[in-house]
Subunit: 290 residues, 2 copies
């Protein structure tokens, strides 16, 4: 049996089971009436109630109620779990250092205690990240702008690494900041910092352009972009469902190593057209008043 459970144990029985489970490196769940106190980076206290305590062999401790996704209290991995019986009651204490933090769970009653041997693949691959978006744009740089030439990704600057750096058809340096979701003012500020850093470092007389690539942008961010002469290109992240008007959709089905050249495969009906103002994809922030 890979899962052992005791129902309504005495506090001392629970303690024995707990220590055995710690020994085996099991994943442990304890359900019962308890109080919770946390003290460390902040401090909190939680009155008596039925909750689920989840203890992981890596030192994680999670206190869950019947609501919300986040635990009401927790302790990060690397903490040390200790169990003891004080005043006839089970106390589970999870401690870590730097910063010093302590989580105490005092059980009034233990209704159930389970110990499970957990194993299995933990390799989870998530697609749809910003890195995926970047790769898609490297495959099709024209999505950003016709003739845009990528030169570097994660180019380091004084202000931090630039998502995508390149040149436009006029040879002007272009800083591209990628966001996979609708962006607020902070992203505009971030782009502005990068542009300023490149202007300082390269010291070129050629003005540095800054382009924010995201599905959409909030009003404040749009104004902030305009203030700094930055641009915005609407691009839906890869593998996203639905299509918002005026934005380009990237499909990353090119994961096959064979580079199927589908450059002619342009789904949008709008002309790939002349380089005079084509507002469908690239819009200058100071002209698009909405």
């Amino acid at each position: 049996m890979t899962a052992t459970t005791v129902h309504e144990p005495t506090h001392r029985e629970a303690l024995w089971e707990l220590e055995d489970a710690f020994e085996r490196g099991d994943l442990i769940t304890i359900f019962g009436r308890c109080t919770v106190e946390y003290d460390g980076r902040a401090a909190s206290s939680l009155g008596l109630g039925r909750r689920l305590l989840l203890l992981k062999p890596d030192g994680t401790a999670l206190v869950h109620t019947d609501e919300k996704q986040k635990p009401v209290n927790w302790q990060p991995p690397g903490s040390e779990h200790h169990a003891a019986v004080r005043d006839g009651r089970l106390r589970v204490r999870s401690v870590r250092t730097s910063p010093d933090e302590t989580l105490d769970v005092h059980f009034e009653t233990v209704e159930q205690l389970s110990a499970m041997a957990v194993s299995g693949r933990r390799d989870l691959s998530v697609t749809g990240s910003e890195a995926d978006l970047r790769n898609a744009l490297l495959d099709r740089p024209a999505v950003i702008e016709s003739g845009f030439e990528p030169l570097a990704t994660e180019r380091p600057t004084d202000a931090g690494p630039i998502d995508l750096f390149g040149r436009d058809t006029d040879g002007r340096p272009v800083v591209v900041e990628l966001k996979r979701r609708r962006v607020g003012p902070s992203a505009a500020s971030q782009l502005q910092r990068y542009v300023a850093a490149i202007e300082r470092e390269d010291g070129d007389d050629a003005a540095v352009r800054g382009i924010l690539v995201a599905p959409s942008v909030t009003d404040r961010a749009r104004r902030l972009l305009a203030e700094h002469g930055l641009e915005f290109v609407a691009v839906e992240p890869p593998s996203s469902t639905g299509d918002a008007g005026g934005s380009t959709t990237l499909d990353t089905e090119l994961s096959q190593t064979d580079a199927v050249d589908d450059s002619a495969h342009d789904p949008a009906g709008d002309a790939t057209g002349d380089d005079d103002g084509e507002p469908a994809r690239t819009l200058s922030a100071d002209e698009e008043s909405h």
Copy 2:
């Protein structure tokens, strides 16, 4: 009994128990060998392995392994849980809309299924937040600067709400941005946006000062502050280390004013605020509400 558990049920038995537990609004844990697939804002797939599935009556679904604090897969509150037996195996599906997201857990074997009736106080009071820091500073504005006069908190601007707004002894407007942790460049940008907003809105000829209040600042952020003529004041956030008692003591340490640029308005000495000659006072940011 408030917790019912079945060990190694058949998939069909597990389904019955599950549906009963859904009906009762129980907190449910399922432990077994399973695969997990998620598709929505992103997409992921997880191969066969022993994991713990936690289903909450509010629609939350969490898949936990033996490591890490965050679940390896999840579904936020408001989702709908569905259970079914397909090909003789239990499948738990959690779905939500806007955005459309689906989480599928296919069980090869169900080793344990528990249903628990959870109730209890959920009122958690956390001290040490940014709001606490702000209250402490309202009590002792001299910590920011001798003679600083707070005028408003959360003052709205075009760039968003300002944490703390006031005037210095010369009557110049001061924008204060509070952070409870060591800050990076984004906080400096945020402060800069607020200062610019106030300068636009008030249109005063009096230059607007910006002060970042935080425990410490990274190098890049420091340089960024200097660039924009912004200032930094080191203040430790209220912490409750050393006392596990009921009332949280917030001892706000007084640190030296650290004017970043040389055009410092108030260099050296008197900003240490020793003019009020008080021993470090304990500031209660939170009335004993329970």
